[in-house]
């Protein structure tokens, strides 16, 4: 139940990407996209068009599942080994660049705190 989700903003629409592990070799990714009850038909239409960017056929997210699948397949044959890329440093903070794993570091640091590790 530990926060396995990313809250994101695409243009002016909010969305949640939720990771549901189903086993060692299987994960489900659930997309939830939000609108407001006060949205009119034109805004609904706009959000529908923006939703093309996300989801399993999303223009910006289509490759994500496949890419993590490649990593899974590649790592399967190297279970005794480890590697580490310090992308964006070691801290958990906002950055000028998008090339950072700050949110991943933040997740694991919080996890360790909660688990007393």
């Amino acid at each position: 139940m530990f926060p396995g989700f990313v809250l994101q903003q695409i243009m002016n629409s909010l969305a949640v990407r939720q990771v549901l592990p189903k086993g060692a070799g299987r994960t489900e990714l659930v997309w939830t996209c939000f609108g407001y009850a006060s949205d009119d038909a034109k805004m609904d239409e706009l959000r529908m068009r923006q939703s093309n960017l996300v989801g399993p056929a999303g223009y910006i997210s289509l490759e994500d599942g496949a890419a993590t699948g490649f990593v899974q397949r590649g790592a399967a044959g190297a279970s005794e080994r480890s590697s580490f890329v310090e992308m964006g440093g070691r801290s958990v903070e906002s950055s000028e660049s998008r090339v950072t794993e700050t949110s991943v570091r933040g997740l694991w640091q919080q996890y360790r705190r909660h688990m007393g590790l």
Binding site: E28, M48, N52, P56, A57, Y59, L62, G65
Partner: protein, 158 residues
């Protein structure tokens, strides 16, 4: 039952799936009228009246954009589809329009040869009987996938 209408609709749907399966994606937008609508959604979303779609287009131009993205922008493992379409029920709306419901299954064949039943569901179509060149075209095609999930990604349209 209007046999000529049934055949015309089945022929449209057959030409549509062959274009996709044959990797003639550039032909895909032409199956729709200019302001044609196409969306893929899940049965769960559809039944709950939730509009979120996996692919959404409300014009032929948006379909052409998607083809362009698949050919030039997106990166995904080489794969092909094989559609099976069956049980097409056709209902005439007026002199120029018909509705149709069909079942479909799509096998996805990866470049490795691995094949899987990728998607099953139904097509809900609204068809203009005399579109471009006098041929039937889709005014709207709603693709409802039975499953709530899609394996890895959906690149090629259904």
């Amino acid at each position: 039952m209007d046999a000529a209408l049934q055949l015309a609709v089945e022929n449209l749907i057959a030409r549509y799936v062959h274009a996709i399966d044959d990797d003639r994606l550039e032909d895909w937008p032409g199956f729709f009228v200019e302001k044609g609508r196409y969306r893929i959604t899940t049965a769960e979303n559809f039944e709950h009246g939730l509009p979120l779609s996996i692919i959404y287009a409300d014009s032929r131009a948006m379909l052409a954009d998607r083809v362009s993205a698949l050919r030039h922008a997106n990166i995904y493992e080489a794969q092909r589809y094989r559609h099976l379409v069956s049980s097409t029920l056709v209902e005439r709306v007026d002199a120029d329009t018909a509705r149709a419901t069909s079942n479909f299954q799509v096998v996805r064949i990866m470049h490795t040869g691995d094949s899987m039943l990728f998607a099953s569901g139904r097509y809900l179509d609204r068809i203009r009987l005399h579109g471009d060149g006098g041929r039937p075209q889709f005014e709207e095609r709603v693709v409802i996938i039975d499953s709530r999930s899609v394996d890895t990604l959906l690149a090629i349209p259904l």
